[in-house]
């Protein structure tokens, strides 16, 4: 059985399998928008591999973290937009 961990996405607890990326957890929480662009548009990941920078979220109070490239850790606090 795969180990499960709990993270928070915008204060909502989400249980995810260990080893999924932060991006996956954001989708599992039901969010589709990850960040707001410089002119205020909603955006979500495009490349899935760390080049487009559209997946930027706040992780444990650190802004501009790439959700596609970081794996979820127990207790992680993720914030979109």
């Amino acid at each position: 059985m795969m180990k499960k961990i709990t993270v928070k996405v915008n204060d909502k607890s989400v249980v995810v399998p260990e080893g999924v990326t932060v991006a996956a957890a954001v989708y599992m929480a039901g969010e589709t928008a990850f960040r707001k662009s410089v002119s205020g548009q909603l955006r979500s990941p495009v490349c899935g591999m760390g080049i487009c920078y559209e997946c930027r979220v706040q992780i444990d109070n650190q802004p501009h973290q790439l959700a596609c490239r970081q794996l979820c850790r127990e207790g992680m606090e993720i914030r979109t937009l």
Partner: protein, 476 residues
Amino acid sequence: MTRIVVVGAGPAGIAAACRAAESGAMVTLLDGEPYPGGGIWRHSIDYSVPRPVRNSKEAKNMREKTKISNGARKAKRWFNRLDKVGVSLRTSETVVDITGRSVQVQREQGELDSIAFDKLILATGAHELFLPFPGWTLPNVMGVGGAQALLKAGMPVNPASPRGGVKRLRVVVGGSGPLLFAVAASLAKAGAKIVCVAEQTSGMQLAKFALGILRYQPAKMVQGMGYMLQYFPAPYWPNTWVKEARGDSQVREVVLTNGKRQWIEPADLVACAYGLVPSVELAALAGCKQENGRLVVDNLQRTSIEGFFAAGEITGIGGTDLAITEGEIAGLAAAGKAKETADYTDYTEKEKKQKLKSVKSVVNKLIARRERQQKFARLLNQSFALKPHLKQLPADDTIVCRCEDVTFGELKNQADQRSAKLYTRCGMGPCQGRVCSSALQYLLDWEPNKVRPPLFPTKIGAFISNTESLKRKAKK
């Protein structure tokens, strides 16, 4: 002992690392992703997920618990080989700069480290070509490989519906290339409902491609048919492309066209990309010679810089098998096991063939194999060449630079990439033009901007405390 650094742990990088290490070199294999495998051999979350690894022993333990996705026996063979040879595998480490004979890598937490080498093998792969169309910035409009990567990382395509039950996402797959089949199949397998697959190339080109596959790689035909069965009964439309995406907080529908008429299809997710472009940024920063956006290499995968080799998609898009062969040759050559005997550049075709037959060395076999595989690569590139009318995709108010929100209207009258950057901030955001520059090279025939370090956004504190980078500044 020769210290070899391989940048990029996809098929080319893994093959290069294996061959070099087996030849007695001390090999470090770097990749920015948490897992090795690159875009194509990335692990699927469906099959239990490994942790990032620091050494090959850990990698071995991890692999024993992991099944490789896509039934990729070939991938598994290479991963096993990598485990055996004792390569120092460093994942979640991104190369941000290169100075002389050392690369600077940034770890996940932002700190920098310097790794010295005698020989460097560049296997940085490729990224997708995204062409801007109205609405492409809406949430849930993504790349084709992008959708595949996110899916493998755990993105659900049949999430719980707010009204109870499960909501199957309706997906339109668009763009160009054989990847469209594979990704439509994976999405369908994961529970998405494929609405249609829209391929920009013509039915005639596809027929030629099919015949070519039967000739060069019949096994791939079987694979392709298998993919089609998986997303059956969704239609596959050649000569069709996504003209516009519409929605509110996310995409809801797309406008498709075949040039003559247009129609609307519903979509909760759009996966659209127009093939791959070589990721040459690091090579360009190092000063390796390029031609038409790809790296120039000789018969032994040597670049224009002494001691620098290149393999895989950065030398031209050719697929996994060609990447592996190139990687093997580069690995052997970098470790000094492929001598000049294999360099037949000055021979005629006939002489070369005879020579290759008579000398049964490993590297010559590989070179012969590479020639066969390059035929398939050429077929691939011809069959999915982009139609010129795709240059009309963006409207004046379509955003091209997604980091700085610069529209096509603001850009089309600029002289070149550099003036666009200075006047509109196009390409000055965190992606450093990786998305918009590739698009503009196609849309307006612009030359790419000069590459400058750091290659990826780097914490200023980490950059200052890194002595190698300071030395570079001091020298200038």
